[in-house]
C-alpha cells in the first residue's frame, strides 16, 4: 500500500487493539471502538464491519518489519491488496494457481487483472513468478486443452 501510511510504528505499539486503537478502522470506515454490543443489537453492524481494512494490514506489516520478519510483512502486503477482491474470486485465483490448472496465458491474464482491476501489483508479481517456475517445471495446463480446474 502507499507509503503515506508510514506511521513509524514500533514494537511497543503492539497490540494495536490495546495501544493504538485510534489507528484501527473497519473497511466501512468505522472506528474499532464502534464495534459494540449495542451496535450489534441495533443492527448497525454488518459482517462487512468485522473485516480487516487494507490500511490495518499495512500497519501490521510495519510491525512485522519492525520485528525483523520481512516475509510476514510481505504476506500482509499481499493480503492488503486482496481485501477488496470478493471471496469467490480469491478462491478462484487460488484454484487457478494449483499445478496444471492454468495455461501460461491464463496466469498472465490473472496477473494483469490483479494489477489493473484490483491494484494488486505484489500479488501480480507472485502470480508471474509462479507462471515462470511452472513453465520451467512443466506445471502449466496445455494451451487449447480443457483447463483442469475443479468445479464443485
Amino acid at each position: 500500500m502507499s507509503a503515506s501510511l508510514d506511521t513509524g510504528l514500533t514494537r511497543g505499539d503492539y497490540p494495536l487493539s490495546v495501544n493504538r486503537p485510534e489507528l484501527l478502522r473497519t473497511p466501512t470506515g468505522k472506528p474499532i471502538t464502534a464495534l459494540t454490543m449495542d451496535a450489534v443489537v441495533s443492527g448497525e453492524l454488518s459482517a462487512e464491519d468485522l473485516r480487516i481494512a487494507p490500511e490495518t494490514l499495512e500497519l501490521q506489516a510495519q510491525l512485522a518489519d519492525a520485528s525483523n520478519r520481512p516475509q510476514l510483512a510481505m504476506n500482509f502486503r499481499r493480503a492488503a491488496e486482496m481485501c477488496a477482491i470478493p471471496d469467490a474470486e480469491v478462491l478462484g485465483m487460488y484454484n487457478a494457481l494449483r499445478p496444471g490448472a492454468s495455461t501460461a496465458a491464463e496466469l498472465a491474464a490473472m496477473a494483469d487483472r490483479l494489477e489493473t482491476t484490483w491494484s494488486a501489483p505484489v500479488c501480480a508479481g507472485l502470480v508471474r513468478e509462479a507462471a515462470e517456475v511452472y513453465a520451467r517445471r512443466d506445471l502449466l495446463a496445455r494451451a487449447g486443452a480443457e483447463d483442469g480446474e475443479d468445479t464443485p
Partner: protein, 570 residues
C-alpha cells in the same frame, strides 16, 4: 543350562520373561529398519545433499549443490523467498558446530541466533541439527520458541458429530486451559453446526479461546471468512516437488492462500511433518528431517506466521525408525529457529505404550513450545475424529501431575468438578438458545442434562441427523455469520458469552492475531512474539512457572492438606 529339554522342531522354548515382554503394549508398535534409498531414515542419510550456497547479483544461484537452472520448485521458492540473501554466504560459511553451540549457549540471545539462521540453506540447517542430541535440541527449543509463554491446543470432536457434545467438551477444554481448540467432522456436511458449537462452547469456557474447523481449503476459508471460526491450521505443505503436486498445490498457491486468510483478518498456520513424503510414496531418497526442513523454509518464505509440525498424522513413520523421535523434536526446533510459531505435534496417536506416549512429549513439554500439543484430545479418543491423539481426556490428571512434578507449564490446570459441570451445562444451554434463535434443530433439555455429565458421545441422546444436516445447510444458504451468533446469544440472555465472541471477532479488525504466535489471554490481550518475546538467557530468565500460575498448577484432584492430613486441599 546344560540340561536342555527336548522340544518340538521349529518351536524354540521361550522364557517366562520373554512371554511377559512379548505381551507388553510396546510390542504392538511397528518398527522397521532404515531404508535411506527410499527416504525411510530419520535424519542421517548419505543421500541428503551437502550444504552450499552461492549468490550472484543479489540472487541465490546455487543451493545445496544444485545450480539455479536445475532448481525444483521447492529450491526456487526457498532461494527466492525464504533465505536472507544478504547474509546467506556468510552464515553458511560458519562451522555448523558453532551454530549448534549458539543454539544452546544462553549468552547468545534468540535474536543473535536468528541473525544467523535466517541465511541458512536446508542442508546447512540439517548439518547443524545432526550435531545435536535430544537434550541439546530441548535446550535450543527453550530459547528459540517464539512466544515466551507456552500454551496448548486441543481437539474437540464427536464420533456422532454431535454439536451439543462439541460445545460441552469445548467449554471444559477452554476452562482447563487450552488456548486454541480445533474440530473436524465424520460427516463433512455437519461442519457449520459443529463449528458454531465449538465457538460457543469455547467462549463459555474461557473468553478469548480461538477455534478452528479442519476441512478442505475452500470450506475452511469460508467458515473463517464468516467469522464462525477464528483461525486455520490444516493447510498442508510437503518437502518434495512431486508430493506437493500430488497434494494439488505448489508453494505459490499456498502462499497465495496464506495471504487470502490474512486479507480476511484470520490467523493461519501451515501444517507439515516428517514422514509425510515417504508415506505419500515420494521422498526422492532424502531423509525425513531434510525434507521437513524444506517445508519449514517454504512456510517461512510464504510469510505465514507459523507451522504445525512434529510429524502430526505421519508420526507412525518417524516413530518406526531409529532416532525418529529425535528428528521430530528437531523439526520443532527448526520451526522455532526460523522464527515461526510452532504447534508442536503430540497429536495423532502412535503408540500402544503409555511409557512411550509420555516420553514422546517430553522434548516439547519440558522446554515449552508455542503449543505443546497441536491436538490434545479434549474428548475421549473414541470420539476423536482426527484419528485419535497421543493424549486424551483420560490423561488430564496425569498431565496435570507431570506439570506439577517437574514444575513445567504445559498449558493445562486442574479444575474442580463443580466448575466443569457449570461450564458444560452453560455451553449446552447457550447452544440450545442459539439454535432456537437461528431456527436450527432444537437442543432438548435432556441433551443439556446429558452434556453436563457425559463422558463420550455414547452418553447423549441421538440427534435427528437428517434435520441437523438440513440445518447445517441452512447455515450456509442463509449466510449466517459470527455476528448472527453474537446477536442470538445476546438476545437469549447469554450476554457474557456474546460479549466474549464479539471481542474475538473484533480482533480480526485489528489484525493483532496475525502476528507470530498470537493467542488471546483471558482479558483479551493479544499475546504474541512481539509483546511476549522469548527472552531466555540462561538460568533464572525467560518463562518461569511461578507466582499465581504455579500456585494454580500445584492443585490436583487429590492433594493432602499439610495442616490436616485427614483432609484434602483444592
Amino acid at each position: 543350562m546344560t540340561t536342555a529339554q527336548p522340544r518340538p522342531a521349529g518351536q524354540p522354548r521361550h522364557s517366562l520373561r520373554t512371554d511377559i515382554l512379548e505381551a507388553r503394549p510396546v510390542n504392538l508398535d511397528g518398527f522397521v529398519e532404515e531404508w535411506p534409498e527410499k527416504g525411510l531414515v530419520a535424519m542421517e542419510s548419505e543421500f541428503d545433499p551437502a550444504p552450499s550456497v552461492r549468490v550472484e547479483d543479489g540472487r541465490i544461484v546455487e543451493l545445496d549443490g544444485r545450480q539455479r537452472a536445475d532448481f525444483d520448485f521447492m529450491d526456487s521458492f526457498i532461494a527466492d523467498h525464504a533465505i536472507d540473501v544478504a547474509s546467506a554466504e556468510e552464515s553458511n560459511a560458519l562451522p555448523s558446530a558453532e551454530i549448534a553451540r549458539m543454539l544452546i549457549d544462553p549468552r547468545a540471545s534468540r535474536d543473535d541466533v536468528l541473525a544467523v539462521t535466517r541465511g541458512l540453506t536446508p542442508a546447512k540447517v540439517l548439518d547443524v541439527l545432526k550435531l545435536m542430541n535430544v537434550v541439546e535440541i530441548m535446550q535450543g527449543m527453550q530459547k528459540m520458541r517464539a512466544r515466551r509463554t507456552p500454551a496448548n491446543q486441543a481437539h474437540s470432536t464427536s464420533a456422532r458429530d454431535n454439536p451439543v457434545q462439541v460445545a460441552a467438551d469445548a467449554a471444559e477444554g477452554a476452562l482447563r486451559g487450552f488456548a486454541e481448540l480445533e474440530t473436524t467432522l465424520g460427516v463433512l456436511r455437519y461442519a457449520p453446526l459443529v463449528a458454531i458449537a465449538l465457538q460457543v462452547g469455547a467462549q463459555v469456557g474461557r473468553g478469548g479461546v480461538l477455534t478452528q474447523c479442519a476441512l478442505e481449503e475452500a470450506t475452511e476459508l469460508e467458515l473463517g471468512m464468516r467469522g464462525i471460526t477464528a483461525y486455520a491450521e490444516t493447510i498442508s505443505i510437503y518437502g518434495t516437488e512431486s508430493v506437493f503436486i500430488d497434494g494439488d498445490d505448489t508453494p505459490w498457491s499456498k502462499a497465495f492462500l496464506a495471504s487470502a486468510y490474512a486479507s480476511r483478518g484470520i490467523k493461519m498456520r501451515f501444517t507439515s511433518g516428517t514422514g509425510s513424503e515417504v508415506q505419500m510414496g515420494n521422498a526422492e531418497g532424502k531423509s525425513m528431517l531434510y525434507l521437513e526442513i524444506r517445508c519449514i523454509l517454504m512456510a517461512k518464505g510464504a510469510g505465514v506466521q507459523g507451522l504445525q509440525n512434529g510429524s502430526i498424522s505421519c508420526i507412525g513413520v518417524p516413530g518406526a525408525v531409529p532416532g525418529g523421535l529425535r528428528a521430530v523434536a528437531a523439526e520443532n526446533l527448526v520451526a522455532s529457529m526460523m522464527d515461526l510459531e510452532c504447534a508442536s505435534g503430540n497429536d495423532q496417536s502412535f503408540s500402544h505404550s503409555a511409557m512411550r506416549r509420555t516420553a514422546r512429549m517430553m522434548p516439547q513439554l519440558l522446554p515449552g513450545t508455542d503449543f505443546v500439543c497441536s491436538g490434545y484430545s479434549a474428548v475421549p479418543n473414541a470420539d476423536n475424529m482426527f484419528a485419535g491423539s497421543n493424549f486424551d481426556t483420560e490423561d488430564y490428571d496425569d498431565w496435570n501431575t507431570i506439570q506439577r512434578d517437574f514444575q513445567v507449564d504445559g498449558g493445562l490446570r486442574h479444575v474442580r468438578e463443580d466448575e466443569i459441570l457449570l461450564a458444560r451445562s452453560k455451553a449446552a444451554r447457550a447452544l440450545q438458545a442459539l439454535f432456537a434463535y437461528l431456527d436450527l434443530p432444537a437442543v432438548t433439555d435432556d441433551e443439556v442434562e446429558a452434556a453436563t455429565y457425559a463422558n463420550s458421545s455414547a452418553d447423549y441422546p441421538f440427534r435427528d441427523v437428517l434435520a441437523d444436516l438440513k440445518g447445517a445447510q441452512a447455515v450456509m444458504d442463509r449466510g449466517i455469520t459470527g455476528l448472527d451468533i453474537v446477536k442470538g446469544l445476546e438476545s437469549a440472555g447469554f450476554h457474557d458469552v456474546a460479549e466474549n465472541l464479539l471481542t474475538v471477532l473484533r480482533q480480526r479488525v485489528s489484525g493483532d492475531l496475525l502476528q507470530t504466535s498470537a493467542v488471546l489471554t483471558a482479558d483479551f490481550t493479544p499475546l504474541s512474539a512481539i509483546n511476549d518475546p522469548n527472552d531466555y538467557a540462561g538460568p533464572g530468565t525467560g518463562y518461569r512457572l511461578e507466582g499465581e500460575r504455579w500456585a494454580e498448577l500445584k492443585k490436583l484432584r487429590h492433594v493432602t492438606s499439610a495442616t490436616d492430613p485427614e483432609s484434602e486441599v483444592g
